[in-house]
Symmetry: C2
DNA sequence: TTGTACGCGTTATCAA
DNA sequence: TTGATAACGCGTACAA
């Protein structure tokens, strides 16, 4: 049937022969109490399976003991490790995680933000689609940390895929490639802007020509659909905005019996599914789970009254060479 | 800087010239009030940007307006669509979603359960590792819905992969296969028990011999590692516990230059990554997102005082034939 | 170091 | 239909 009522601070106090404040302190400010008292109270609390009621605590302190993470699509393999990292960090600090999925729409992002902002002490916004103005306004109402979005004055965790992209271009250059296609992601995406700019500038430094393909959504299907254009472009290598798109391109090439890497090389980004692609895809790897941990750590620091605008955290990336890249011209391109 | 303090029920009451109870009712029980009063209060509330404080409401009513979803590993592609479905349903009903990741350990599952049970009105437990006894005990303390676990008396949503497995065996039988390997998942997994039993019985009905391989974890790496044993077994087809394991097997076969499906056929389960595998993998498909929605709907119904033990929801599956299965013997096995 | 007493914002009970 | 008031469980001045 229904549940027994959980023990309250008063019952513990009576059972332990102390006052309610002592019980409270045993949990929230143990350093104010003698070690012996803390020990006693904790033992009794354990026996009675006492767990502090967060609603009551929240009402009293104004802090929820929870943060919210808002992602554009939990099914995107980039977000799984990110959420995992956030989860782990929060679990360590005994903070709850509220999850929101915007389904890639700005409207839902706004609604969710409004709803969650009241329930959480802070929000991690990953891959936001809202405008700079909206985000800035929001950041004045609730502690906010951005992931992969650059916005002065708002704490953020950035994954420096640009450096990895340069490494990727150098790798291709060393293999003799001189004609490179870039398959972009969403136009509003900060990550895409970074990646595309890095590819373009690195390529021009190496004397490599870049064709920027026409694409928006970073999906498997979009990757498959890009293949004809890629072949037309006569590029000998493709760098994709992310692994999902890259894997789609690999799939499309496979269907068309285009040999990878003999006829064309392919590089992905994020290293989420690259290792499982066929052929195993060369990709720019980042520690996404760490990014999640850092985002959570940053947010919790702000929430707990630390630095209002900490320096951005920038995480390094590096190229992992696998089987989808090789010397140009094995097949006469 | 920080945010202005939000308006409270008392300020609205004063501004609207009514009592706090009236303001409260205007939001939670408008039918008790005259239309005019409701209108007045709501207007004033709007002007003052009043939003009810959920912590206070929770403290008073004992209801949190949130449910928790506990998964064993958010990075497993099975859980992403599940969480998505839950999220969607909860969002529709204005309920918040708390996320917990047990990292596949029973200990963390227990801790998390204890922690979240207090903060949520109910819990969805997906792929639990705890014992029947523990789960039963818990279900007496808080509304609980299981996903893919059979336990009498506890509301549950089950994906009937057994039927799909029989379909898969029939498919292989029709292709002439007579020697089949099954690559299992976790021994404690209800899903694995279902799948393995279905494969075994369906195969024996078709006169197909089944070799059950030795495996526990459904990971890509485990799939790769299974390949030598699979080849030794001289099976002409493999059915994997899930897509991830199946994709690993495909990868291992590819590395060993074993042709799929000419030399060996491979079938996955869940259809999470099957379509993106190479070759595109035949798999048993289920609507996991729907499972999530149903789980959330079931839980919310129970929470809201409906049926204490609703009938289990059982979702159908079907085989999706792709490129990883073909007639036996193209290469003399 | 510990206890007393009040307030956090809301809903429920009871009375008007 | 509306209002006054007592909980809900906890944290924290303030007092001891």
């Amino acid at each position: 049937m229904s549940s027994r009522k959980p023990a309250t601070i008063r019952e513990i106090a009576r059972a332990a022969g102390v006052s309610t404040s002592t019980v409270s302190r045993a949990f929230s400010r143990p350093e104010m109490l003698s070690a012996a008292t803390v020990e006693t109270v904790r033992r009794v609390a354990d026996e009675l399976a006492y767990v502090p009621n967060r609603s009551a605590r929240a009402l009293s302190t104004g802090l929820q003991g929870a943060i919210a993470i808002i992602v554009s699509d939990i099914a995107n393999p980039f977000f799984a490790p990110l959420v995992r990292g956030i989860e782990r960090q929060c679990d360590n600090e005994d903070v709850l995680v509220l999850l929101g999925d915007t389904d890639e729409t700005v409207a839902k992002e706004t609604t969710l933000l409004a709803k969650l902002a009241r329930q959480a002490d802070g929000v991690i916004l990953a891959g936001p689609r809202s405008s700079d103005e909206e985000i800035t306004a929001l950041s004045e109402q609730i502690p906010l940390v951005l992931v992969n979005r650059e916005l002065a004055g708002v704490p953020r965790v950035l994954i420096d895929t640009a450096t990895g992209m340069r490494e990727a271009v150098a790798h291709l250059s060393g293999l003799g490639h001189r004609r490179l296609a870039y398959a972009p992601g969403p136009a509003e995406s900060w990550s895409n802007a970074q990646r595309q700019a890095a590819v373009t500038s690195a390529a021009s430094e190496c004397g490599i020509e870049v064709i920027v393909l026409d694409n928006e959504r970073p999906t498997h299907e979009a990757g498959i659909a890009l293949v004809p254009t890629i072949l037309e472009s006569r590029a000998t290598a493709v760098i994709a905005f992310d692994d999902v798109l890259g894997q789609g391109i690999l799939a499309g090439l496979g269907t068309g019996a285009v040999a990878v890497p003999d006829q064309i090389s392919v590089i992905g980004c994020d290293d989420t599914v690259a290792a499982r692609a066929f052929p195993a895809m060369t990709a720019i790897a980042a520690d996404i789970e760490l990014a999640g941990e850092q985002a959570a750590a940053t947010l919790l620091a702000v929430v707990r009254g630390g630095d209002e605008s900490p320096d951005p955290v920038v995480l390094p990336t590096h190229l992992v060479v696998r089987d989808s890249t090789g010397p140009v011209g094995a097949s006469g391109n």
